[in-house]
Symmetry: C2
């Protein structure tokens, strides 16, 4: 029984509040000293986004931008950014959560004008860039929910649940990954790996077939492209609990990219470090599995082929395994789904495929 509890999340919330307060204090300070207030941050424009092979994700370069209240063109975005910081501070200190959509509407309560939600989303990303924290850290969450299941005990930090624990095998449909789970402390686990799965049907199959026990695994349902809160949670399982992460998706370019975004993130989150798990591995379905396991397939469509050519040139796909699989997809011109293993019976994917693949990836 590994004990890991460190009070990490409570510390983090304090840090976030402090950094928001420091931002406010800085602006007050500038004004007290007779300056037009300004905020500086790394530029997020395309020419300042680089792939860093060392840390294996996109990062921002050295170019910086400054929003100053002195510049008439900056007054609006500067004010919006300050309001967003204020509102995030309200949320975080009152321990309430919000969605991106809600922030847009809430602004109207303060007579703060955003042209549309795109504009408020972009200002929220500015705030992430300024603070170096992701919006989930200051309590702005997306709509989508995914799930987790396995022997991991968490301790809540949300109001009304402080100190309460939950073991993530409590509910055999999986425990929803929302604001409360994301902000929990990870207390203890007997698991020695994480298995992330793209699809709900397979996630349920894995639970029914006791994958969590038989493979000592924490199971994560990404439900398609993993929401950011889920990517952050996977990263925590990897970095706090030191668990290796294996990702299983459909065998097509879209499945590959679900894995890649968990591993290496996306260009538009180049300003953040908390969302990527560079050591996570894509477990399949590989194009070579389609051949070796004689899986039922569908033909690649025009749009799949176009996407594969894009991935071939993408720096996140430089690894020989990725390149081999992309080439194989293009050669066989076929794709397949995770469920296609059911062709050999419902339990085949768990009894045969999974143990073989896990030992290959370990080796």
């Amino acid at each position: 029984m590994v004990k890991k509890y460190k009070g990490i999340m409570i510390e983090k919330k304090k840090e976030i509040l402090t950094s928001l307060e420091n931002l406010g204090a800085k602006i007050y300070g500038q004004m007290d000293n007779g300056f037009f207030p300004w905020i500086e941050m790394p530029s997020r424009s395309t020419e300042n986004i680089y792939y860093d092979p060392q840390i294996r994700q996109f990062i921002l370069g050295d170019k910086r931008v400054r929003r100053s209240a002195r510049n008439i063109r900056h007054v609006k975005p500067f004010t919006q950014l300050v309001w967003t910081a204020y509102f995030s501070h309200e949320l975080t200190s009152q321990r309430k959560t919000s969605t991106l959509r809600d922030v847009y509407y809430s602004a109207q309560a303060y007579e703060m004008k955003f042209k549309d939600q795109q504009e408020s989303n972009s200002i929220i990303t500015d705030l992430e860039t300024v603070l170096g924290f992701s919006r989930e850290d200051f309590n702005i969450f997306p709509e989508e929910r995914s799930a987790v299941f396995g022997d991991l005990t968490i301790e809540y930090t949300v109001p009304g649940y402080e100190g309460k624990t939950l073991n993530l095998t409590s509910h055999p449909d999986g425990v929803m990954i929302g604001p409360a789970l994301t902000s929990s402390e990870l207390v203890k686990t007997t698991a020695d790996k994480v298995i992330a799965i793209e699809k709900g049907g397979l996630f349920t199959r894995f639970i029914e077939e006791n994958v969590h026990k038989r493979f000592n695994a924490i199971l994560v349902l990404t439900a398609g492209q993993a929401p950011r809160a889920t990517r952050q949670f996977i990263k925590r399982l990897n970095s706090e609990l030191k668990l290796p992460v294996y990702i299983f998706t459909d065998g097509d370019p879209w499945g590959m990219h679900i894995a890649t975004v968990i591993i290496s993130g996306s260009a538009n989150a180049a300003h953040l470090r908390e969302l990527t798990t560079p050591d996570a591995k894509w477990g399949g379905v590989w194009a070579t599995d389609i051949i070796n396991y004689k899986l039922p397939t569908d033909p690649l469509e025009e749009v799949d082929i176009k996407r594969l050519h894009e991935l071939q040139r993408d720096p996140r796909y430089k690894d020989p395994l990725w390149q081999r699989e992309i080439k194989t997809f293009l050669r066989i011109k076929k794709k397949c789904e995770l469920e296609s293993f059911s062709r050999y019976g419902l339990a085949y994917v768990v009894n045969e495929y999974l143990p073989r693949r896990l030992s290959e990836l370990k080796g």
Copy 2:
């Protein structure tokens, strides 16, 4: 503290197994007596679907169809139907679940041919029609998952969890509605109503604002159009626990239809009775709320207006409230989202709108 436990789900599973076995026995009997085996069921063709104002949902009429192994054109669908019944019996007796997609692939393990998934889905619907049970009852589940939160204690019936209970306030992100929850017994509750909510952000807000305690409510997240398992669960809350159901959606034709499908079902589930909650009520956002609360709006688009005209003629929308709201939407040519109440602060929807609407609907 209301105690409601009745062992309903365990009884139901027995009924389903029996009805599948009876179907098999009937076919054997036909063959033993020297007949080509056949299966009869109500026709699901459009001209046999009627809206029944008494039970307030679509139902099938008296026309019946017969699939006979004697008719060369019937041999394939007849065999597929028998295999599907066999496979459903395997699933149910082994207490494993499957998705629609999985059934399609699993057929290949038995050298049972389906042209595509549409064909296997349609045969599964045939089996529902023959048995009068929904596919979730014989363990075929959709991909989508939604959630529930509130003071309700359930007792699991799935393998490994028999007799274990969970209170649905255990996880403050909400408890996922999957196969395990759906097949649970409803043991006890102090709630006196159900509030169903279309969107994850609002569901979380309601939990954070203690709606479950302040309004004695079980909260259900439909996550857009409610999956069938969720509609069935809402029906159970209403029929087994006698709780009134209130549904809150965006203020547009699509939100209205989310409510209507929970209340009156859809034409393609006319062969089932377990999915509708005719006494459930649509709580808003109403078109008249847009006016009365001066909510932020978006203009109706062409496709919204077209949809409203369709709804106006739909028998499920005959009620004066629906007709009034459809007319108001068409007159003001605006729509709005649930989150738009945040315009008056994050807690406004809970502190002001919700209590007012609930008392209006009760009166």
